[in-house]
């Protein structure tokens, strides 16, 4: 069964269609690259998956569980919405680390707050927090930042901040990790370290949806590619096909612009 199934997603902002009839599916352990020019709807699609935008219509399910269905008008309680949200992790273009917390605290904060909802919380607090801490340290180690645990975001470079943000998103073990142009806000010499981390996630079969402008990277790292233009999926397929042998005129033109 597909881990992620999106069907018939539509979204418009004040009358302008931003997504029209977008649908795709993703298997566990696969990574999907979404490419397309700015304003094509890629980011809106990610924001819909993370419930930062409400689609006008369509359906999203994760591992067979429907997490969004526009035909179901019953209100979802906040607690349930938060639980559904946790299926997804999101790494923002502009990192959005919490400036008043250290790298380690950025990674542990959400976990510690969620631990309060654990039935054994007050009693097992120390034990739960120790687990969360240990997990966070391991994650920061895996993104190469074990020496920066106590650093505040403003003391880190953009690439380091983005790696903390990746660790933060991974800390809650989402089923699907989404990246919204993770290197677009970085100086060119800093993109490499972030891409390396994402590549290693792909090789360890983390399920990912990656919106990116790095075509070479998308081609290497993804199992599937979707090209979006004007809010609709124009072309989809294996990276070799979409990049090597695009069928649609619009895809060809887009790729030419990016390889040139």
């Amino acid at each position: 069964m597909a881990i992620l199934e999106v069907t018939g997603l539509n979204k418009s902002f004040s009358g302008t269609a931003v997504l029209s009839d977008v649908g795709f599916s993703l298997e566990k352990g696969e990574s999907l690259a979404i490419i397309g020019s700015s304003g094509s709807g890629k980011t809106t699609l990610l924001r819909c998956l993370n419930f930062l935008e409400l689609p006008d219509s369509g359906k999203i399910s994760v591992a067979g569980e429907t997490v969004f269905d526009s035909s179901d008008r019953s209100a979802v309680p906040e607690r349930e919405l938060r639980r559904r949200r946790l299926h997804f992790g999101l790494v923002f273009q502009s990192f959005n680390l919490f400036p008043q917390y250290t790298a380690l605290e950025n990674v542990t904060l959400a976990g510690r707050l969620l631990a309060r909802e654990n039935p054994g919380y007050p009693r097992r607090r120390a034990e739960l927090f120790a687990e969360i801490d240990e997990n966070a340290r391991a994650l920061l180690d895996s993104v190469g930042l074990i020496s920066k645990l106590g650093a505040y975001p403003h003391e880190l470079s953009g690439g380091q901040q983005q790696r903390v943000a990746i660790a933060r998103a991974l800390a809650l073990s989402p089923d699907i990790l989404c990246f919204d142009e993770p290197t677009s806000a970085l100086d060119p010499e800093l993109t490499g370290e972030v891409l390396r981390v994402i590549r290693s996630l792909a090789s360890s079969h983390t399920t990912m949806v990656i919106v990116t402008h790095e075509m070479q990277f998308a081609r290497e790292v993804s199992d599937k590619v979707i090209f979006i233009d004007g809010g609709a999926i124009v072309e989809r397929g294996a990276p070799e096909d979409v990049f090597g042998n695009p069928r649609h005129e619009r895809t060809k033109r887009f790729l030419e612009r990016y390889s040139g």
């Binding site: 938060r82 639980r83 923002f92």
Partner: protein, 213 residues
């Protein structure tokens, strides 16, 4: 005239000054937050009404507001006037709440939306986001304008003499009739010391929050 008489009179006036300052601050600081929520409301009538209120309060002299609050009830509908001190506190609280609300609004709107969204995608509740993420960033942002406004409040307390509340300037001024001008200078020293202390406190607070950006 013995210096001790002058000192005792000025100290009594300074007590009143401090009282106006402390009570106004304690009431206007939370009330300002309520007003700022009103002026950021998504419900348009409430937002427009609140902003009109802020415009009127900030756009007219505090002195005029005090006169209206103190004399208004008697002149307009032959009601009973509030006691002088209560009228002063009422006018000051309303006035400063309006100013504070704009500072709060600027501080809250200045926190990037991405902070809120990052909290949401990490499964936090709105309350958790406010207290764990937004609040401290707001406090850091509003500290410099707040210290400015609070120092202005210390000096504005002297307006209370318009409705004969015997704060320090009024007491000092009363010596003028006896040909003594020095008490006014002494009163000035009280203000300088008070504001000096405030400046040190705010400086420390800003320094304490300088660890992040």
């Amino acid at each position: 005239m013995p210096l001790s008489t002058i000192a005792a009179t000025l100290l009594r006036g300074f007590g009143t000054t401090c009282l106006i300052f402390i009570i106004t601050l304690a009431l206007a600081a939370p009330l300002g937050l309520v007003v700022s929520f009103g002026s950021m409301s998504r419900f348009a009538p409430l937002r427009i009404l609140t902003r009109a209120f802020v415009w009127i309060i900030r756009g007219s002299p505090l002195m005029l507001q005090m006169i209206i609050i103190y004399y208004g009830p008697g002149l307009l509908w032959s009601g009973t006037a509030l006691p002088r001190f209560s009228a002063t506190i009422t006018a000051f609280t309303i006035n400063y709440a309006a100013y504070f609300s704009e500072i709060y609004r600027g501080g809250i709107e200045g926190v990037p939306r991405g902070q809120y969204e990052a909290g949401l995608v990490l499964g936090m509740t709105k309350t958790q986001i406010f207290f764990k993420i937004t609040l401290l960033q707001v406090v850091k942002r509003i500290l410099p304008p707040m210290s400015n406004e609070i120092i202005t409040l210390v000096k504005d307390t002297s307006l209370a003499r318009i409705i004969a509340v015997r704060e320090i300037i009024m007491e000092a001024y009363s010596f003028m009739a006896k040909g003594l001008i020095s008490p006014l200078f002494y009163a000035g020293v009280f203000y300088l010391i008070f504001n000096g202390v405030l400046q040190v406190i705010f400086g420390k607070a800003e320094k304490k929050l300088a660890y992040f950006r």
